[in-house]
């Protein structure tokens, strides 16, 4: 507190033009660079707005105005096909379920950003409830709605499903691997180390491909399960191997004395772990964990290659028919924007959290 108070008195907030002069127009060279760079950036932004807003065609009824000399964006394709992009092949009259399910997952993500939920129990309860809500709504058979099987799930809702299940399954797996890696038992330690290093050296695509194509050969029929669950498990394992390293960093920040103090008080391994060590580990590991979650959200797009109808695949389908084929750019911009908003806000939140934790430990 003391330190920040002194800095504020030393450096009063400058007025806007004062700041600008100092940071952008301090010398002739700076002025030239600033004018060129801001000019170019401004021009690019203007081009983008001109294309996306000013000269754009918005409604599906006006699709006749697209093309033929009009060089603006043709958002008619989104107007006509957004349901396909967001929900894939989910039955049309059941789309309200898909919408609610997406809202459940997004709400779960937003709520877990609030510090009220930052205990292991609350956080896991929140995610299990959110995930269960998603599954019950999407599948429907357990709450008396028409059953929709996973092969009909698609678009943004499938992307969110993959993301949520990978994080939900991968997080405890990662913790388990991290604990195994620092176990006193050499065999356990060796198994965890080999597994983590192996998975981390391979591209995610190879791991997922193995789960989709190779595992059926190696497992007896009754153990194979659905392709989507095999891929989710493999993805979760991938997440866990990276997350284990994040947790390991957190463990290294805890002084060994804390474990020993716990032992001296006669507490058992699990009590020491859950009541003393883990809360601190989570706190240290939080910024890197958010980073991992963001990366995972981005990486879900790769399942298109294994043949799942996630948002990128449904986007390809959206302009796949003859009449919409010229408007691929609009569709990619739409999907790119959805991804960008998700990932940018999660990333900014991670940055904020890093500062928050730094200031808390001062």
């Amino acid at each position: 507190m003391q330190a920040s108070a002194t800095t504020t008195t030393q450096r009063p907030p400058d007025r806007l033009f004062e700041q600008l002069r100092r940071r952008a127009f301090a010398s002739t060279f700076d002025t030239v660079v600033s004018i060129v760079v801001f000019g170019t950036l401004g021009y690019l932004v203007w081009l983008a707005i001109d294309w996306a807003v000013i000269r754009a065609v918005w409604s599906v009824d006006d699709v006749g105005q697209c093309g033929q000399g009009n060089t603006g964006a043709c958002w008619s394709v989104i107007d006509a096909r957004h349901r396909l992009i967001l929900f894939g092949l989910y039955p049309y009259e059941q789309h309200w379920r898909s919408t609610l399910a997406c809202v459940a997952i997004i709400a779960t993500i937003v709520l877990s950003c609030l510090s009220v939920f930052w205990t292991a129990r609350r956080l896991s309860t929140l995610w299990i409830i959110g995930f269960a809500a998603y599954y019950l709504l999407m599948d429907g058979s357990l709450i008396g709605l028409q059953q929709v099987t996973t092969d009909q799930w698609g678009g943004l809702s499938l992307t969110l499903f993959l993301f949520a299940s990978v994080v939900l399954l991968g997080m405890p797996m990662g913790l388990g691997l991290a604990l195994m890696r620092r176990s006193e038992m050499p065999v356990i330690r060796l198994v965890a180390t080999l597994l983590i290093d192996f998975i981390r050296s391979l591209p995610l695509l190879t791991t997922l491909f193995t789960a989709a194509v190779v595992v059926p050969i190696l497992l007896p029929d009754w153990l194979q399960g659905d392709k989507i669950w095999r891929v989710i498990l493999a993805f979760a394992l991938f997440f866990a191997c990276y997350q284990a390293e994040v947790f390991r960093g957190g463990f290294q920040a805890i002084p060994k004395g804390q474990f020993e103090a716990g032992k001296a008080l006669g507490l058992g391994y699990w009590t020491i772990l859950f009541d003393i060590v883990l809360p601190q580990v989570f706190r240290h590991a939080l910024p890197s964990t958010i980073n991992m979650v963001v990366v995972t959200f981005k990486e879900t797009a790769i399942v298109i290659i294994i043949g799942f109808f996630e948002i990128l695949a449904s986007a390809n389908a959206a302009f796949g028919t003859g009449e919409w084929a010229p408007y691929y750019l609009e569709v990619y911009v739409f999907v790119g924007t959805i991804y960008w908003i998700f990932i940018f806000s999660l990333g900014q939140y991670g940055e904020y959290l890093k500062e928050y934790i730094k200031s808390g430990s001062r």
């Binding site: 950036l41 391979l202 190879t206």
Partner: protein
């Protein structure tokens, strides 16, 4: 009451039992996997083993650095895929490191405009999935005009839906590989000579230029032009170097995505350099360029190298995304081979082995670089 000795022995026994159970479970799983594989493969009528590598493939693919035909054996085709992965990966690593250092250092400048430019670049390209960027650039390139209406730059560089045509030294591919190897060897030599970074970079550029000159002098027959310039002959371009749209889309997407990450790493590294060092340099009357080159960058490099190495490994792994647009990297060759030959287990083992080898080598290189850059006496 048990004595301390008994308790200790009990704990020891428990630990032994747990480990024995883990080992037993692992062996059981392997045994079960092998026996399932045998049943399943027999049912499919596939003979396991690496004999298929000698068979001809009978299918084609988009990109190769060396001569290829559909009569190639699986072994040769897989080698070509591996070379493509290495080629694309190395090229993207070099380019994205250069762009990343540029963008990251710009972020460190005091000029608000340059900071904005760099932040925009980083936030824009980092926050969109790589595969989406790949298919985006591919879609954009494939909708370019045909070769007859190709966009051209001073009639030497042409961009059409067939790819980018650029002027190139009139050398065969093998000579280009030789020049590449010579350049890498020079880099390695300079690395061991422990001279300053700036000198090393300049010497490396000079050495590479020299080896190109030597190759041109030795290999191009008198009378032939030294540089081959692409020109439209009929429906397609002749001469020059053709970069196919698959390769181009991969390079653009990976370099933009990865350099945004590297820029962030570089920015972080520069921000960690203590202010006092810069001030000490100023007190000694050093110019701001000298402060940057001799104090800030060398200090920052020490914290930049480890995450930079991770990013290099990421780039190598990211080449697998090429399968989405039909770039024939190792992953695509392996997955096509699997559909065509059915030798799933062998091919996946080759794929995994290749990536383990490449990433292990890369990690060792980064370790060497790291050791070389550590402060002397620390």
């Amino acid at each position: 009451m048990a004595t301390a000795d008994q308790l200790r022995r009990r704990a020891q026994q428990r630990k032994f039992m747990i480990q024995a159970v883990v080992v037993a479970v692992i062996f059981l799983s392997i045994w079960s996997a092998v026996s399932s594989a045998q049943t399943n493969l027999t049912a499919l009528g596939i003979t396991s083993g690496f004999g298929f590598l000698e068979r001809a493939t009978g299918w084609g693919y988009s990109f190769s650095l060396i001569e290829r035909s559909i009569d190639d054996t699986y072994a040769r085709t897989l080698t070509i895929g591996f070379l493509n992965t290495l080629f694309l990966g190395t090229l993207c690593i070099v380019l994205s490191t250069i762009v990343g250092f540029l963008v990251g250092s710009i972020r460190d400048s005091t000029n608000l405009a340059l900071q904005t430019l760099s932040t925009t670049f980083i936030q824009f390209f980092r926050n969109i999935p790589l595969i989406l960027q790949v298919v985006f650039w591919y879609a954009l390139l494939i909708h370019m005009p045909g070769p007859r209406q190709a966009m051209s730059l001073v009639d030497m560089v042409f961009l059409s839906n067939r790819g980018l045509m650029v002027p190139m030294f009139n050398l065969p591919v093998t000579a280009a590989l030789g020049v590449g190897l010579a350049s890498a060897a020079i880099a390695a030599l300079l690395f061991w000579m422990r001279i300053s970074l700036a000198k090393a970079v300049i010497l490396w550029l000079v050495g590479t230029a020299l080896s190109i000159a030597v190759a041109c002098f030795a290999l191009i027959p008198a009378g032939e032009p030294i540089v081959s310039i692409p020109a439209l002959k009929g429906l397609r371009f002749r001469g020059g170097l053709e970069l196919s749209i698959e390769l181009l889309a991969m390079i653009i997407a990976i370099v933009l995505y990865s350099s945004a990450y590297i820029a962030e790493v570089v920015r972080g590294g520069l921000a960690e350099v203590p202010r006092g060092l810069t001030e000490a340099g100023q007190a000694l009357g050093m110019s701001s360029r000298a402060i940057w080159l001799q104090i800030r960058l060398p200090m920052a490099l020490r914290s930049i190298i480890p995450p930079l190495g991770n990013q290099w490994i990421f780039v190598m792994k990211a080449t697998t995304v090429g399968v989405a647009i039909g770039f024939s990297d190792l992953f695509m060759i392996v997955s096509t081979s699997i559909t065509q030959s059915g030798q799933t287990l062998e091919l996946i083992a080759i794929l995994m082995g290749a990536f383990l080898l490449v990433n292990f080598t890369l990690a060792q290189l980064v370790n060497l670089l790291n050791a070389r850059l550590q402060l002397k006496g620390h």
